[in-house]
Symmetry: none
Subunit: 125 residues, 2 copies
């Protein structure tokens, strides 16, 4: 199942954020082959984003062979599940980026890791 999509105001285009989050969910196995994606209009409404923007994201996913779209039916995870990419490097990249923010905020990595552990113990906000 696809976790909640979220948008950030960090300069990355909205359609890229959507594409990458959905691609990550598929690669992670949260969305199995054949599973139905949320309706473009659903995504557009819940995220307060234009339908064209969602369409662009879905089209990019289809371009990458991750998703197939059928008019009148919906959009689905493509059948041959693409091999899950190695995530360790991606995680390390994120960790480094986060570490920079922590340093800028004067927070040690241990303190941040501890706070994250507490956050992960609760339900997703």
């Amino acid at each position: 199942m696809l976790g909640a999509l979220t948008l950030q105001d960090n300069g990355v285009p909205i359609y890229v954020q959507l594409r990458d989050q959905i691609a990550a969910a598929i690669g992670r196995g949260d969305l199995a082959p054949g599973a139905r994606l949320p309706t473009m209009r659903e995504v557009a409404v819940t995220l307060a984003v234009d339908l064209n923007t969602v369409q662009r994201a879905y089209a990019a996913l289809e371009e990458d062979g991750l998703v197939t779209m059928v008019q009148g039916r919906g959009s689905f995870v493509a059948d041959p599940a693409p091999p899950a990419r190695s995530r360790s490097a991606e995680i390390r990249t994120l960790a480094a980026k986060v570490a920079a923010q922590a340093q800028a905020a004067g927070v040690s990595l241990d303190e941040l890791a501890e706070a994250l552990r507490h956050l992960s113990g609760r339900a997703a906000p």
Copy 2:
């Protein structure tokens, strides 16, 4: 030392890619506080990118408190920020922001916390 900066044609704005890569290098410790960043013109030339674009990336890094720019001298990694006033609240705020980024990247908080502990030089519990 800053590893080679690379640009990808994945829809992410160039200045965002530069900002994130340099921020990651700082957080990773590859660029220590006080270390000099490559000249804006150096980056612009070697990556075949406009000077304005590099400037935008550097300005964003300064905005985030990661870099300080001095006219005529160059740009340098900022000294770590002094401890915040209400420390626990500050940490929680940062953790929440970071949690959003992790979700956007398809990385669980546990994975991120683990990577952060690794970065800080400690073994996992």
